[in-house]
């Protein structure tokens, strides 16, 4: 990217226009526009940091490609922010009670951050316990059952039936039979992510290439090594797709359960403040959940790429 391209582009133009109009026009009372400008500036900084990382390499390189994508994304965000700010803080086109200004949401996000984090920790404890339990049981069980022809034939119809039940319907009953809300949520997340992980592991074992298994038998692989060093790695692609489905189920189940019976957590946060019609905080909660899920998914994809680096 040339210096000219770095300076004169639509993202920079949008940022300058946003700032100029923002300071030129008066805002409605209580819309805390400074925080909206701060947010825009943060996005813009992200773009500039990307630009700085790709030094004038004449364009075409991977770095300048990434910078271009970042520029496009930041441009889109600025546009949306601009529309939101204009419709609320500047021209009050929308009902202020239902549609807070972006500055209010950004300010609350910062002010309420300690509460958000404590909610996150409470949620992650439940999610982590249930999900890890599901992986630790679903994968070994799937490997053993998938490797044993007779067990596989029994397990197949059973999993088809039980795995087809939407796990969300377990929530009321689990809350009724289990002593604490925590144990009930862990149980529901476990059930919800166990089936996709188990079923995918099972089918993955079945799909491991016969020729690889023959090759393993030809070098007299021990039964333990057959499962852990041949079948397990051969099944990892299926396990990872099951684990991904399980993870997204977990988020849905976790937040649903928290909305029903929790006294803390990310889902509870949204439900609690919407009961008080505190919609700015509801939006804060929704945005925060979005960020958390993106971060977790990002690291999950990294892990998947590492585990499948041989492909």
């Amino acid at each position: 990217m040339s210096i000219r391209e770095k300076l004169l582009n639509k993202t920079n133009a949008a940022f300058v226009a946003f700032m100029a109009l923002g300071f030129a026009l008066p805002s409605q009372e209580g819309s805390r526009s400074l925080f909206a400008y701060g947010l825009a500036a943060a996005l813009q900084l992200l773009f500039w940091a990307r630009l700085a990382l790709c030094r004038g390499d004449g364009g075409g390189g991977r770095g300048s490609d990434k910078a271009r994508v970042t520029g496009d994304v930041v441009f889109l965000c600025l546009l949306l922010l601009f529309a939101w700010e204009a419709a609320t803080a500047k021209f009050a086109l929308l009902d202020h009670f239902l549609y807070p200004a972006p500055g209010e949401v950004a300010a609350l996000f910062i002010e309420d951050f300690p509460n958000l984090i404590s909610g996150l920790l409470s949620s992650l404890k439940i999610l982590g316990t249930g999900y890890v339990l599901a992986v630790l049981t679903g994968v070994p069980l799937g490997l053993v059952v998938g490797w044993n022809r007779r067990l596989y034939q029994v397990a197949k119809p059973v999993t088809k039936m039980l795995g087809a039940i939407p796990p969300i319907v377990y929530i009321p009953y689990a809350i009724a039979i289990l002593p604490t809300f925590r144990s009930a949520s862990v149980f529901i997340i476990f059930i919800g992510s166990f089936w996709p992980i188990f079923i995918n592991t099972l089918n993955g074992v079945f799909d491991v290439d016969r020729r690889l298994i023959d090759s393993a038998r030809a070098i007299n692989v021990s039964p333990a090594d057959m499962l852990t060093r041949v079948i397990l790695p051969g099944t990892i692609p299926s396990i990872m797709s099951g684990a991904t489905i399980g993870l997204s189920f977990s988020f849905i189940l976790l937040t649903s359960a928290e909305m029903i019976g929790a006294t803390n957590g990310m889902g509870w946060y949204v439900k609690y403040f919407s009961d008080f019609a505190n919609y700015p905080k509801v939006i804060v909660g929704i945005v925060f959940i979005g960020l958390v899920v993106s971060v977790i998914t990002f690291f999950f994809e990294r892990l998947e790429r590492y585990l499948l680096r041989w492909r």
Partner: protein, 269 residues
């Protein structure tokens, strides 16, 4: 006593519409240190026969004896190279060899000793630099070299090869054949090799004896000794009259089979 004795082996499988014979009355023997090729058109059961020799499945009738003992399963006295998927894609070239060595009950050996051995054999096949690469990062020919290095590193007295160069282009294939002969011929005592192929020139160049099979069901049609002295030079033998005669004889055996198939009721053109 021969190293390998195949006595009247019969094998049938479920074809969906009843039992079908894949091999019928197959008998031949392989001497100690002998290089024998099994050749035939596709579907003649030659790969199946190799699977039986490897012990991957039992024959439905007859028996296979190694050193006079009946084969009942896979064994450490045999190593196998397949056409595809000999190597585990999630292990590096070195990892594949070390893993195989470990299975041989060399767990007692230090890991560093196993790694050293693996690297030595990778060096033998000219792939010292590829030790840390995954099979995906290697060409088909290089993968087969790793598979051969693994089979040789196991140092078992018998080597079973199922069309190992079937998917390799002609030029690389010639190189691999020479490499195989070199490695087979060096060291103390030749290994006993059973080599399945559908390439007539490959069979002649490599073997002491060629077993020609016919299909439907697979039977041994003829056993043909290959008289050329070793070490062999490809250019030296292919121009001789003996080579042409031998090649013609095998080609005719192939055609014979083909003519029968076309002359029958299953003419599909």
């Amino acid at each position: 006593m021969a190293k390998i004795d195949i006595n009247d082996v019969y094998l049938e499988y479920d074809s969906g519409s009843g039992r079908q014979a894949a091999l019928d009355g197959v008998s031949f023997s392989v001497g100690e240190g002998e290089f024998v090729s099994v050749i035939g058109s596709s579907g003649c059961g030659k790969s199946t026969l190799l699977g039986l020799l490897a012990g991957l499945m039992p024959p439905s009738g007859g028996e296979i004896l190694i050193d006079g003992d009946r084969v009942t399963g896979t064994g450490k006295d045999r190593s196998v190279v397949f056409q595809h998927y000999s190597l585990f894609p999630w292990m590096s070239a070195r990892g594949n060899i070390v893993f195989a060595l470990k299975q041989q009950g060399r767990n007692g050996c230090k890991p560093s000793a196993l790694r050293e051995k693996a690297d030595r054999y990778l060096g033998l096949v000219g792939l010292a630099d590829a030790a840390r690469k995954f099979p995906r990062e290697l060409s088909g020919g290089m993968q087969q070299r790793v598979a051969i290095a693994r089979a040789l590193a196991l140092d078992s007295p018998m080597l079973l090869m199922d069309e190992p160069f079937g998917a390799i282009d002609a030029k690389n294939r010639a190189g691999l054949q020479e490499l195989l002969l070199d490695l087979w011929d060096c060291g103390d005592g030749r290994k006993t090799v059973v080599f399945v192929t559908h390439d007539i020139d490959e069979a002649i160049f490599l073997s002491d004896k060629i077993v020609v099979m016919s299909s439907g069901p697979g039977r041994v049609k003829e056993e043909i000794p290959v008289p050329f002295p070793r070490p062999r030079e490809r250019e030296g033998i292919v121009r001789t009259a003996a080579y042409a005669a031998l090649r013609n004889r095998i080609v005719l055996l192939f055609y014979d089979d083909l003519a029968k198939a076309i002359g029958g009721e299953e003419v599909v053109i």
